[in-house]
Symmetry: C2
Subunit: 342 residues, 2 copies
Amino acid sequence: MCSMRWRPTPCCRSRHPRPCAAITSAWQGAPNWRTPRPGAGSMSSHDRSRNTHMPSTDTNVSLQPALRLDGRTAVLGILGDPVAQVKAPAPLTARLQQAGLNAVLVPMHVRADDVAALLPALLTLHNLAGFIVTVPHKQRVADLLGDGLLPGARRANASNVVRRTVQGGWQGELLDGTGFVAGLRAAGFDPRGRAACIAGAGGAASAIAFALADAGARSVRVCDIDTAKAEALARQLQLHGVEAGTWNGREPGEAELLVNATPVGMRVDDPRPVPASALRAGLWVAEVIMAPAVTPLLQLARERGCIAHEGRHMMERQLGLMADFFEPAILAIAPERLEVAA
Amino acid sequence: MCSMRWRPTPCCRSRHPRPCAAITSAWQGAPNWRTPRPGAGSMSSHDRSRNTHMPSTDTNVSLQPALRLDGRTAVLGILGDPVAQVKAPAPLTARLQQAGLNAVLVPMHVRADDVAALLPALLTLHNLAGFIVTVPHKQRVADLLGDGLLPGARRANASNVVRRTVQGGWQGELLDGTGFVAGLRAAGFDPRGRAACIAGAGGAASAIAFALADAGARSVRVCDIDTAKAEALARQLQLHGVEAGTWNGREPGEAELLVNATPVGMRVDDPRPVPASALRAGLWVAEVIMAPAVTPLLQLARERGCIAHEGRHMMERQLGLMADFFEPAILAIAPERLEVAA
């Protein structure tokens, strides 16, 4: 067991106590899907702009040539408050329909106080296959689902996807960490046998830490401006048999991967979540922030010879994981496969 | 007051006691919107195929060039059981978006027993602008809305459209009759000063009878295989000051319009809802049945020199009425107008 002593450092902070806020920011922004940009439609160019300033268009998927929308369409919701910033409806709908599934994802703006009453009511919409959960409802939904949580969601006590079961209940999972690791792998970094350090100890950090451990990471160290929070996450990881501890947030040490799992970097006047001293040439520096695509941290990382891994990778990979997660629930409602244009 | 004595006749029947079943059948069928048929996209060719066998494509509107679907999209539902047969989602969504409204209509499959609990729960989805109500929920929803009913829905005790108010409640209206009259007018028949007879005395017949009276029809006579039902509707019309009575279902008398407001004609082996003797040359004979487009009644009407008015006219006109009805509720949620391609 590695249990490093956590020391407070001004360079490692989480100003926004909402868990998973950084991850959910991945869905931020509301481009006009009516005007597809060049390159739209491809879901596979995940590593095209690594270490470049080329803007990603991966999630700007147009719903052209046409959307299937009829009485047999299975519906998915995305629950959030607010919900205007979410990006998932068009690209996930396009992805599902391109896979031959008659389904559509629509936003559902619900207040935290109403979530408990809403979940059983949504069960009575028999063609609602499930829903994505975003800020601030991930923990609340996990609390409400109880035995309906799959292992990843239970471990993190947070759920970002919920589907209808054949028994007529809800089943929740957390795909944030899995999506992050899938994004890393697709970009060329396999966590197996490697040490990682994480800035942040909230919901996003927890999901990523466990997913890195699941992927065979040698060790995971975490830091947070809230000492107790970092120590608690380290202990929780250790309880699950993970080689884990706290991190000083200043030097990468033996780590080959540094993850910013805080929301610091989303706002124009944000400081960097870690100082320049934490950025060693050759280190993979990963964000979960989607906007801006290249945060000040990633910019500095590039200048110092690190490999900058943008937040969009996690979102792009989650689209596929979400499609896989919802597919059985969609097919139970809309079993007829759509004709898909070649 | 005209209060003709109702006499039972085998040619005038309502085998399906569900109110408004014939009207709701207007949304039946589930064409594949991914493959637009020639002529799709036009909402204005309402009278193109009058008295011809040309199939209508008016409601087969493709969602090309693209659908706007993002976190700011206002959602509309269509509540029914079953709901697979509804046709409205694609054409109403297309119509709303062509009008610059960021909205999408999705099916919501809900059982009758769950409607009462669902209505308040749907209010907690703050970006749900409203919903269409179809079989078998029109009366149940009207009962639940109580003071939230607009005059047309209150009079018929049935609601097929419900929108969110600025006060945060639901407000219901019934557009079936208004849509029917709008379809008649667009096809060239103005009910003002003219006598009409209606086969059927259920929800569809009631809505149409009141709408014809509102439009200035001189008299409205109704017949039904259920004597008491026809007499009750005639009395209700009279109470509202309408020149109304029962009809023998065999001769048109002075009527210039004959409406089949029963579901008889939807099934292949259905008899005609009225006998040939009811069809005088020059009489307008109107259906509310959508499939088949040309019922055996309309076929016979043409052969006898009547003007056959297909059921699709009512649905097509309702799309516009529904768009108008939902527009303020949509704009309260999604005030930003979409750019609409010229």
